[in-house]
Symmetry: C2
Subunit: 386 residues, 2 copies
């Protein structure tokens, strides 16, 4: 259950035509596809997205903070640390709770179909979605033994596995509780969708872990895409769908919003995987080729491995053994992925997914003006400097 959103260094769109001859650390992806009826200025969309995220935080944070304050003492402390609002010793911290893209999607989808009143009515649901997202982060970090999240030590490294698991459990319950206390007529339907989404996230996390344990040749591209949709797309889709529900949208529009979020989520994951191989260390904070060094079966890698090309065989041979920096040049491994078509495929897929997302968005929100906010957010999450 990947964290989305990027730093303030993002200036360009990623999902356009692939640039073929970039080397590790220099790739910048092309312009995003231009949706019909919208001026294509990535910069103004970036500004719009930033404003939407800021306004969303302003609406949702008080709801989120007052909810977390009702947790039992231990869980509250761990949650406040995880959200970046307290240091490990319980003193207040400046806060780096991530971009909170999901609550912004809830509110922006509600506003797109129901205006300001619907947006306002969906604040509690937006907080619930953010709580569910963070419960999955707390648990995933335990399972994956990840030690850093949002530039800080993960909760389990500070408070131990048990308290991180228990806090995740309590935060899930708190998210569902928010919806159960919500008098809005859509709250029960929202709770059903959110619970279904939790189950899909769990299956996605399971599949991810299981795939990483399997031999490279045993992993198919279809199941890798399905895993990415479950792990990353499902909650983005659910966030958009909840916004639709709170705007009183018809079932088919709610489904189209869900599909919009899923496709945008997949585009995000494809770009994130490209960055994991060819990302500029100055922007990613990770060494170049980081995903290759840990033999991650990311989407471009699986596309390369299953391409049937000579480079696929070369890559498979490299992936058959752990990375050894004495013997292997990661830039050449990245070149094998590229020669096997993994990079082109991922960038074309990302563009395709964004195009599908735009189609779904146009179906749910035909008025381009009203759809502008969701479009800006989708562009924002997939716009990463590499």
């Amino acid at each position: 259950m990947t964290e989305t959103g990027c730093g303030t260094t993002a200036t360009r769109g990623p999902t356009g035509a692939p640039e073929r001859h970039g080397t590790i650390g220099t790739q910048r992806a092309g312009e995003p596809p231009t949706p019909a009826g919208r001026p294509d200025t990535a910069e103004s969309e970036g500004q719009e997205a930033a404003a939407l995220l800021r306004e969303s935080r302003a609406s949702v944070d008080p709801e989120l903070r007052s909810a977390i304050a009702t947790l039992p003492p231990t869980m509250s402390r761990v949650a406040l640390y995880h959200f970046g609002w307290q240091h490990a010793d319980g003193t207040p911290a400046e806060g780096n709770a991530g971009k909170a893209i999901r609550p912004a999607l809830v509110l922006t989808a509600a506003a797109a179909l129901g205006g300001a009143a619907a947006r306002q009515s969906a604040v509690r649901a937006a907080a619930a979605v953010e709580l569910i997202h963070n419960f999955t982060l707390l648990h995933d970090d335990v399972m994956d033994r990840d030690t850093t999240r949002r530039h800080r030590p993960t909760a389990w490294t500070v408070f131990g596995d048990a308290d991180a698991i228990l806090t995740g459990d309590a935060v899930q319950a708190l998210g569902m509780r928010l919806l159960a206390t919500d008098p809005h007529p859509a709250s029960a339907a929202a709770a059903v969708r959110l619970a279904d989404c939790v189950m899909e996230l769990c299956e996605g996390q399971h599949t991810d872990t299981a795939m990483e344990r399997r031999a490279p040749h045993e992993v198919t591209l279809d199941e890798t895409l399905a895993m990415a949709e479950a792990k990353t797309g499902a909650l983005l889709g659910c966030a958009c769908a909840l916004g639709g529900l709170y705007a009183g949208a018809a079932e088919e529009d709610v489904e189209a919003l869900d599909a919009f979020g899923r496709q945008a989520g997949l585009a995000f994951q494809l770009i994130d995987d490209v960055i994991g191989i060819w990302g500029d260390p100055r922007h990613t904070g990770k060494p170049a080729g980081a995903d290759l060094a840990v033999r991650k079966k990311s989407l471009p890698v699986v596309a390369a491995l299953t391409s049937g090309t000579p480079a696929a065989a070369e890559l498979a041979a490299l992936y058959a053994a752990p990375y050894d920096e004495e013997k292997e040049d990661l830039e050449r491994t990245a070149l094998a992925v590229e020669r096997a078509g993994g990079r082109d495929w991922a960038q074309a897929q990302a563009a395709d997914r964004m195009a599908r997302a735009m189609q779904e968005l146009a179906r749910a929100v035909p008025d381009p003006e009203a759809a502008g906010g969701l479009l800006a957010l989708a562009e924002f999450v997939t716009r990463r400097t590499t």
Copy 2:
């Protein structure tokens, strides 16, 4: 989050006057207190409880099984194993899903205040409570590294930590989903109570783990009781309260039902702790004094340690070092707990808690005939051969 309910060997009530001079493995507790207006025949109550549990299973199991069938494949498989309905290889098993006392409490409380129609309307809520209980068992077993549950290897020992955690997460979501899909007017209030209960269970599990890590002299009796209420009493209380909600009971009666379940749960825990020291290995399946060997800070032990008696000092000295079977005779350690008053205190407390439970029950369900089922279940969970 302890499993309640006992085997079919139970024939006597536990919460009456303590028998002072039993030795390890021979204790049988006294008769239960007699509630006004009820014939005191432990045997007929035992039969009534057994019938209620049987009927509850017949109502709730289909709901539970069809809910679990909707889980994603991996989570469904782990859950079916955990519930005893499948072997680890996915083949059908005869099933030993525990006594399912909690759903029986939901249905019996609903019937007590709303008759057969209320009982029938509460079946989905009863299944939700059982799912929440089992999510906590899945997670607690991971945290406590417990390897056996219901006489089978625990889920994490079979499927690994990650899948046990993910299945617990999904099962929690499934429980809340059942309530969100329930058209009964009480379902949202029930979801709020159940979510609150999850948070209390989490804090109880945290406190239990934290207390076990602290030095014996740092643990107070009050916090041990509070921990036992959170870990064991809360969900029994919540189950009864949900039954009341589904019967349309007044808020004060719902609270009295909650208090009834909590007090009965504490009585259960006190008896369970007595059995953990003086239980007959032929009935418990554990060696005599098992809790003393692992230095468990159970309620009788903490009562003894904080008694200010010479035996308390002797016990503290023993608990200061790990158990060494070459040097320590557990029967003598048990005798120190007994001399320090730990056993008498626990049995008197259990009787007191059952008396309080009866008072709360009489408040919520004044008609003794209507209250009979809940009384029988409370007696059942606290009636254990030692």
